[in-house]
Symmetry: C2
Subunit: 351 residues, 2 copies
């Protein structure tokens, strides 16, 4: 966190900005704000060349002071803008165009007359895509926790009756492990598995493939795993298609190297899936971190290049409308050799 | 929903817009999009004078078709923008400035050349602040569910050891009742209660006031209740301050009428709290609906006027740094006479 703030302050200097200001003033917390401060409450982070300040409302002071390390925390009384103007005397202010709405821009323009706003979103997105040693440690733990939960799920699977029961089990186990959900779990059985973003239903689990897409948020960082199990006994054809997707996934995961183009990774998957690639209707994967979807994007038109320290998912899937679906997903750390962080077995489980 | 969409289409006509487009293309769902469609997946809603269209990616088609009523659902294949341009031939397009970031504006400008974008955020915020009969029905149910959960909490309170245990109990009960949490519950005991947004800790509940702020989300709609209980036996002074806050709250709730200025409601509370008003450090209340914070805002500088059908919270609190805190909050429906939707007793419970 401190390291990343220092890098951003370097950017302030290089780009001749006066400062960077990040705002966290609404109920939708800005992930960049949490990423840089470890604090998710209301406030504004000001990064100057040589200093870092966090302004918070009085009612958040105690919480901020206890959470934030290495930044001076100040209370803004009546007028946040007055406080901010005191620390932003130069002309150019860096802001995050991804987090500033047009409504908020109107306010900024009114409060900071004659200033220019410079977009620093891609700088932060870039920083975030490559994880620090500490972030990797937390992400590994998040993945280990979700592994444990999924193993427990599979061993007691027969006791659960509906898709919703499975989702509830996952949520309750996440909580027992001091985690939140990274996203609402997807549990899709029978023909429902043909919808990549199926909402778990209160209906009895159907026979056939059952896609379970689940991740926890541990200390603010997300894991992401999908396993497809089979309820009942698969036909030879179903087994064949599962094996094809599995081998395609394993091959691409094993081939990941720093320096590769994300678009090439995607192409390799399309080639692997062969004639089933028409049934693959979404992106191949995405970075994970403080958000469940970060850079890089494994998409056909992505410009990103894999770098050591990136943590991302590889999740091919094939979907046969109104019939069935299969998706297999791991969270992977890019290193000299790729390291799969999610360790639950991928061989087809019959439950 | 349908009624609100029709009203918005009326706005398209009146303001000489060609259409209104609402986008739900990121992981942070746009509440207005859900409000108008009942669907929370990826997509774009296009409201023309005489038609309503919902564009969704292929992988969301089944989900959208099953959820959305009365709107034509279309799949956009490769190019969303091409589909949208076909339905937006006029010059002016209404968009929601609250939901469009500066990054997204760049994309819009590139994809819709020579168009003007007109802000329709305040129109939707206004519509949302006054609830339809159906919304009121759902909000009442949400409040009833949270009542039941809080009663159950208090009757078994002694079995819970830490603030986190209380928060977990609330979350697990919400889930059992087919609800999500409207927000992470606040459970603040001892000196922690002096922080309005205290995060529940894994430490034994402390003696003294314990503030519990909790709400469920039922069918997409939020409830919001705060009760302050006492662990142990309160001193006479503590009892006095509690009674003062309680009477202040009851008085203001009872005085709410359509036509009142929100700023006047706030002033009345300040007067009621007398010399303790210095210890009241936040807004007095906010609308609730598909979001936990909506219009109107009960704040000193609010321009809003109370209208029949608004549903809002009234939540005075007093906070004594490092000592204790008290907050009492109900969700109230504005009608000829105010109707309190959250019914858990407010007389000081000793647990």
């Amino acid at each position: 966190m401190k390291k990343r703030r220092r890098e951003l302050r370097g950017h302030v200097k290089r780009k001749k900005l006066h400062c960077i200001i990040l705002f966290n003033l609404t109920m939708n917390p800005d992930p960049n704000f949490f990423y840089l401060t470890g604090y998710a409450g209301y406030g504004c982070l000001v990064l100057l060349k040589d200093r870092e300040l966090l302004f918070v409302p009085k009612m958040e002071f105690e919480r901020a002071r206890k959470t934030v390390k290495g930044i001076r925390v100040k209370v803004y009384r009546k007028n946040l803008w007055k406080s901010l103007r005191r620390y932003s005397r130069g002309r150019a202010i860096g802001i995050d165009f991804n987090a500033v709405t047009l409504t908020f821009l109107k306010i900024l323009r009114k409060e900071f007359r004659r200033k220019t706003f410079v977009d620093i979103s891609s700088v932060i997105r870039g920083l975030r895509s490559v994880k620090t040693a500490n972030e990797i440690r937390i992400l590994k733990k998040a993945c280990r926790i979700s592994d444990t939960i999924l193993k427990k799920l599979f061993s007691g699977f027969r006791k659960l009756r509906t898709e919703k029961d499975v989702a509830d089990f996952l949520e309750s186990e996440a909580r027992k492990n001091s985690c939140e959900l990274a996203f609402q779990p997807i549990v899709a059985s029978g023909p429902g598995a043909a919808e990549p973003h199926h909402t778990p239903k209160r209906k009895r689990l159907r026979k056939g493939f059952c896609v379970i897409d689940f991740g926890v948020k541990y200390k603010g960082y997300c894991s992401d795993t999908t396993r497809t199990v089979y309820i009942g006994k698969p036909s030879r054809k179903e087994r064949e298609i599962y094996t094809l997707v599995l081998n395609a996934q394993k091959d691409v995961v094993g081939s990941l190297r720093p320096g590769q183009k994300c678009s090439d990774v995607y192409s390799r998957m399309i080639k692997n899936l062969g004639r089933y690639s028409r049934k693959f209707t979404h992106g191949l994967g995405h970075g994970v971190g403080v958000e469940i979807h970060e850079l890089p994007d494994l998409k056909p038109k992505s410009n990103s290049i894999l770098r050591e320290g990136m943590v991302l998912t590889v999740e091919p899937g094939v979907y046969f409308d109104n019939k069935f679906g299969i998706r297999i997903e791991d969270t992977v750390l890019i290193s000299k050799k790729p390291l799969v962080l999610t360790g639950v077995t991928k061989s087809l489980k019959m439950l």
